[in-house]
């Protein structure tokens, strides 16, 4: 009788079981057993993300090598056609992609060597569409030397830009809380305007907000906002964003500035993690 009952309602019983197990995972996120399970599962899900992250590189690197083949007699006509337009345009595009990629890496390693030789280079391995502006996942973890709260930088046009800090680490991957997360707060200053200090907060959207500026502030649109180093969470003088607008805060006590982030979160591929 019990078995018949189970057969009849087995889907509901299974649902209850699956919900119970999932709730346990949710409730015990931080325990080592759940972390180990996560690390195990990540091994199955990271390959496609890594592949896509490096898709541009691999496609642009593999194609020229294929194109470097010795031309056969029959392909002379093709090579003439290549010079006539289509293929040379494609080659130009590949060269441009390679040039951009090289420039990006050169900038990254120059900044790393000159300022933070101990920094760790990591690739963006993935991101959650529902937390697009809040988090990114890196392909380095605890075993690579990453710890929670390490600052994370991106390199934009040869200069570093703060993008967030490490939130969680597992053995081989880590999660970064981006500046755009509404829970993110960074002590910041506007160097050109008598060194006015404030706090940069995220909005869960692309832009940032610099809060607690004096109402008589000299800050103006176009000013660069940098980390102040107060609180020791982030090193000083790292660009955070540019002022795009000023308005009184909702309580009319301070001014607050809308910032355009120094690094666009959609274009981050490789990052520098500063070790302490």
């Amino acid at each position: 009788m019990d078995w018949e009952l189970y057969e009849r309602y087995r889907s509901t019983v299974l649902l209850a079981g699956l919900l119970f197990v999932s709730s346990l995972f949710l409730a015990f996120q931080k325990t080592s057993s759940v972390q180990h399970l996560r690390a195990f599962l990540v091994r199955f899900t990271l390959p496609p993300q890594r592949f896509l992250g490096q898709l541009k590189n691999s496609s642009s690197l593999s194609s020229p090598s294929a194109d470097r083949r010795e031309p056969s007699e029959g392909s002379v006509a093709e090579s003439v056609l290549d010079f006539s337009g289509h293929f040379s345009g494609e080659e130009k595009r590949k060269i441009q992609v390679l040039t951009d990629e090289n420039a990006r890496f050169r900038d990254l390693f120059q900044v790393k060597e000159s300022k933070w030789p101990g920094a760790i280079v990591a690739h963006v391995a993935g991101r959650d569409p529902q937390r697009w502006f809040q988090e990114i996942v890196l392909d380095k973890g605890k075993e690579d030397g990453l710890e929670p709260d390490f600052p994370v930088l991106s390199i934009v046009e040869g200069r570093e830009a703060l993008i967030g800090r490490i939130l969680e680490v597992s053995a081989h991957v880590s999660k970064v809380m981006l500046l755009q997360d509404s829970l993110s707060e960074v002590a910041a200053t506007v160097p050109g305007a008598n060194g006015e200090d404030g706090v940069v907060e995220g909005t869960n959207a692309h832009e940032l907000i610099l809060k607690f500026l004096d109402r008589g502030s000299q800050v103006k649109i176009g000013d660069l906002v940098m980390t102040s180093g107060l609180g020791n969470a982030f090193p000083p003088d790292i660009p955070v964003g540019w002022v795009e607008g000023l308005e009184p805060d909702p309580r009319q006590l301070f001014l607050q500035a809308k910032l355009r982030p120094a690094a666009r979160s959609n274009q981050i591929r490789v990052v520098l993690v500063l070790t302490k």
Partner: protein, 164 residues
């Protein structure tokens, strides 16, 4: 054995498809939740048992890949698979309009539940995004395509479900 390979390949392809889709469309208003639609397809064509299992496995893999809350997608996709399975007698899953409207409704419920569950288990407060309005529409738009592709895939493997 064949059945196991079919399910493993299906899960793997869906995961890849979602990752590729997220790479190009994630964070935009035009993101499509291929996995959620596939879970609904499983429930509607194979019943709640298969829908729940596929939802749970895909959900836990999605959670792991995003390093978000481990279990949140597992809960929501399991529920979606179960709901689809329970409605399979009332709905004609072969009709594109049924697929689209059901996908739209389930995605709306999914987002509402996502915000609720996240509020319970995360320090981050989920906030309203316009994607919560547009993504269900995108899911509805692409649901017939996904249903057709999955039916075709099942036929290739000779795994088309048979009602007893």
């Amino acid at each position: 054995m064949k059945k196991a390979f079919y399910y493993i390949f299906t899960v793997w392809i869906l995961l890849w498809g979602q990752v590729v889709s997220n790479h190009f469309l994630g964070g935009t208003l035009f993101a499509v939740q291929w996995i959620l639609i596939a879970v609904l397809h499983s429930g509607l064509t194979r019943g709640p048992w298969a829908g729940e299992w596929i939802g749970f496995v895909l959900g836990i893999l999605v959670d792991a890949s995003s390093l978000g809350l481990l279990g949140i997608h597992a809960i929501l996709y399991s529920l979606a698979g179960y709901a689809a399975g329970m409605f399979r007698r009332q709905l004609d899953a072969s009709k594109p309009w049924t697929q689209a409207i059901f996908s739209w409704m389930v995605t709306m419920v999914y987002f509402a539940l996502y915000l609720v569950v996240e509020r319970f288990f995360s320090v981050n407060e989920g906030t309203f995004q316009w994607a919560f309005v547009t993504v269900p529409l995108m899911n509805a738009l692409f649901a017939p395509l996904v249903f057709f592709a999955l039916d075709f895939w099942a036929a290739v493997w000779d795994m088309t479900p048979v009602e007893h």
